[in-house]
Amino acid sequence: MAGRADTAAARRRWLLLTPALLVLIFAASGPLLIVVVYSFLTPGDYGGIEWMFSTDAWFNVVASRDFFDETVTWNDAHLSIFWRSVKLSLMTTLACFIFGLPTAYFIATRPKGQRDFWMLLIIIPFWTNLLIRTFAVMEIIRNEGVVNTFLINMGVIQEPIQMLFTDFAIMVGMTYVYLPLMVLPIYASLERLDFSLVEASYDLYARRWRVLRRVILPLAKPGMIAGSILVFVPSLGAYVTPRVLGGGKNLMLGNLIELQFGQGRNWPLGAALSITLLAIVMVALLIYVRQAEREGSHG
């Protein structure tokens, strides 16, 4: 009896799930498997691939073989882009943290009725077009933009400062775009913070800075970790922001991947780079899930 009811329920469940799973397999997960396959094939002469097994793509991710004498060297071009991506993502995460923590704390310490309003102010930009927000940053920091025009009119500088098309621009842009992802989880953990603990620390002779360091920050740690990963992951795979704000040479991983899919380019290498990026992101997410589980079992 129970068994039959169970299988009927299971059948109904999978039937209901079918449309969503079909769409997702067809237009999200399935193609990922094809990327894995592609990374082990030989590039075609005019883009695309030839159906011949090869590990060259994976080899080329980090190394290169000299065309004439076959000596193997590190692929400096790729490594420097990897490094730049990681560096810019870390700096973005740090910048988001420096701005995000006080902002989340500020919102969490508003009277209850006002918090929704402040959170809405954070959420609205997050749900608006990423390209438009990047474009807004571009307008401000370009040579003829508001910042430079203002500084020149004030007499602070004679010549505009070149900010657009630099690494700095990419970092500013990504910080601007991903900041809400830092504020949201930190706010969530601060909002649950029992302020009688803060009171207790002051009562026990802790000063402001120590209360922050010894009580508030440790208790907000889950939110801080979540926020950092939520910012780091999309930063690492960013494509639009570096493309719009970075110069021709200031590439990040996402742009390097795109490059491999132009005419006459190396598709298998692009596939291998994609899988590499995916792997890094998955590791970061795994750390996040572990952390979340550990916190969950505690409290």
Binding site: A10, R12, L16, T18, A20, L21, V23, L24, I25, F26, A27, A28, P31, L32, I34, Y38, F99, P102, T103, Y105, F106, I107, T109, I124, P125, W127, T128, N129, L131, I132, A136, V137, M138, E139, I140, R142, E144, G145, V146, T149, L179, F195, V198, E199, Y202, I216, G237, Y239, V240, R243, L253, F261, W267, A271, S274, L277, L278, V281, M282, L285
Partner: protein
């Protein structure tokens, strides 16, 4: 020593100024962008008076018209497909005891949130290129399907949240009164679920409307949506026409997000 009047345990030095600065920085670029969309001059930095000429220019620009219609068609179709699929998926996965494969389902539904967009974009480029060669079809359905896929988790979340907060006893009462499952769903579950469905659909619509990366990789020649059209324009000399288009897109997003906020808060 001056007497510190009133000790505020919540105060942390510098936090409030940084937070307020943060809000200013968050909105300043957007506000400037909107302001210059009304500029009478060519520049996006020098104010030359108020004018609606760039809105008119955008309105009369055939490429913009074209891209707008395509954006709306894709977003409409994708949010419809994603929301329908998400409602069914939410019904299947909410309020059930633990079941085999739940982790797989969770991973599948949330996959678009976890995988970097550029990776999905590349994967779709490769996959759809194969299909294009095999079938010769180069229409809009590639875009619609790709958008549907990454809209599913966004549509799923509010629907599931709504479903979880719903009163089970009503449905049981409905079934008790000889309602068939379909009639119980239509007469009892769906009306209660409706705000969640609407919220999910709006979120999906906004997400689809805003997408750049996947669209850029999946679109066939001449299939620009508004964002990819803008991306192309950013490489040229930029006139406030781009600001005008951006402002309209911003307005749509803000209105939908506010409506989403209200809907997801509405009482059962």
């Amino acid at each position: 020593m001056a007497k510190s009047r009133g000790f505020d345990i919540r105060h942390q030095r510098g936090f409030t100024p940084i937070a307020l600065l943060c809000f200013v920085l968050l909105y300043m670029p957007i506000i400037i962008l909107v302001v210059y969309s009304f500029n009478a001059g060519q520049s996006i930095a020098i104010w030359e008076g108020f004018s609606l000429r760039w809105y008119q220019a955008a309105w009369e620009n055939e490429q913009v018209q074209d891209a707008t219609i395509r954006s709306l068609v894709v977003a409409g179709a994708a949010s419809f497909i994603a929301t329908s699929a998400a409602v069914l998926a939410a019904l299947a996965t909410t309020r059930t005891p633990p079941y085999r494969g739940s982790t797989f389902v969770f991973a599948m539904i949330n996959q678009p949130l976890m995988v970097p967009e550029i990776v999905t974009a590349v994967a779709l480029l490769i996959f759809f290129a194969m299909i294009k060669v095999a079938t010769g079809y180069t229409g809009l359905w590639y875009l619609i399907l790709a958008h549907s896929a990454f809209c599913i988790p966004f549509a799923y979340m509010p629907i599931r949240a709504r479903l979880q907060g719903m009163d089970l006893s009503l449905e049981q009462a409905g079934a008790d009164l000889y309602g068939t499952p379909w009639r119980v769903f239509r007469k009892i579950t769906l009306p209660q679920l409706w705000p969640g469905v609407l919220a999910g659909a709006m979120l999906a619509f906004v997400i689809s409307l805003d997408d750049v990366v996947i669209t850029e990789f999946v679109k066939s020649a001449g299939q620009d949506t508004l964002p990819t059209y803008m991306l192309g324009q950013l490489r040229r000399v930029i006139t406030p026409e781009v600001n005008a288009i951006s402002t309209v897109l911003l307005a749509i997003s803000v209105i939908l997000v506010m409506a989403f906020f209200v809907l997801s808060r509405s009482k059962k």
